[in-house]
Point group: D2
Chain length 143, copies 4
């Protein structure tokens, strides 16, 4: 299993009046992290969309261990938790660089669709190369 590492600097816009990062923003960081994960595989999510493949989100979850603050430098690790020809589930771990503390961890689950009409797609059949690439990067080689 491969993992990517993304650096995020907390923006003022991402904090709320409690003084910490607003919880919904972690999912945006997960998106950044997921894009970086795909990027290290040699393609980009933008490329995937250009080739007619999208990955709309079907479920998300996150557990928050401790608060992240404005200007914190964070590292987000992304990896593939599950992969089938029709679905993919990513796992994310957020760490603060300063004290190496685990800030949060979560998941996002996606289906593969044709961007043209939003219909589900069997990635293994329709884009074998891409599917095999993702298999290579996932924990389980194939299901």
């Amino acid at each position: 299993m491969k993992a990517s590492e993304s650096k995020i600097r907390v923006r003022y816009a991402e904090t709320d009046k409690m003084g910490f990062v607003y919880h919904a923003n972690y999912y945006i960081w997960f998106e950044v992290s997921r894009a970086d994960f795909i990027r290290i595989s040699g393609m980009t999510y933008k490329d995937m969309e250009s080739q007619g493949i999208g990955m709309p989100v079907i479920s998300t979850d996150c557990v928050y261990h401790t608060a992240a603050h404005y200007d914190d430098l964070l590292t987000i690790k992304a990896s593939i938790e599950e992969l089938t020809p029709v679905r993919i589930k990513f796992k994310y771990q957020v760490f603060r660089d300063e004290d190496n503390k685990s800030i949060a961890e979560g998941h996002t689950e996606h289906v593969f669709v044709r961007t043209a009409d939003g219909r589900p797609v069997n990635l293994k059949k329709k884009h074998t190369a891409l599917y095999e690439l993702l298999c290579e990067f996932s924990r389980k080689e194939e299901i």
Copy 2:
């Protein structure tokens, strides 16, 4: 168990290039819905904070059944899923008014803290009236 109903009109800002609502925005709607839930109990979350009680989020999850679109009018139902003197878990259901379709459902879990220092607080002991109010609104009267 009581439930609140909030109306949300999807903003253009909440959509993404896929043409639908970006998934992280549901958690912001959950916040609106949670605030309305507390409001119908006769106080507001703003009041709670003024009285020194905060409810930082410790976990969130959401399952997306179908896409919401720009300008959709949505109804979000909030209810209490679990309540203890130190924690509360809300459940949310999102429906589209036009076709009454279930769009998504999710949860947010919170701890009660003193806003002064962020320390956990036993709501039952420290703010019995508020705790009893929430009990009254929750499925289980008390744990």
Copy 3:
């Protein structure tokens, strides 16, 4: 000149660690207000897009008079500041309901384009009815 009035309840997500509303969010409220302005004209911005007309933003500005806070109920008035067959400029005024204070005012300027290819469109020629409708709602009947 007609004006629309939109009600906005400040979301927690819209605040920042300074304790007030983060400045960029006013532009999102302007969008809500602009959509309501178009709605009272008898159509919706969603309809406009369905008919192949978009209004991408070419400039924005805002002056902030005083801070808006979490849970504030705000009224946003929108009106047309300028209208030509190829451009439209909206004006927005934000008031807090509680004390009727002027919170902010700003503008957004848009061009009319064909959504199909993003090319500028002469609204007066291509969609005379819509243009006349907007004229009716603007300060100056026509330029």
Copy 4:
């Protein structure tokens, strides 16, 4: 006059259904850029706040030359446009790395306040060192 350069990778969350970056997000990038500008001066905005100085926004404006797209790598240049002991105005220019196109330019104007009570502060009197540092970085050495 010194200028800072920040790199921004466009997030999916920052796009809207038109397929481009939603206009309000530029102001968030300006914030990132402003923070980087302060950072190269040897302190951080976080430090400023720790020392009791805030810079709430009193006006913002932006002109959009062309659309930015998902995954675009952008460079944002920030510089000081005006500086007095009580106010500061920043200028921002956004370029796309791929084609070096100018995407947008804008400004944000801020007052110096005490974070303790939000009262205006004369930076030159109260924090001479910080004021002189900013002078050094601004076009006009002093007003």
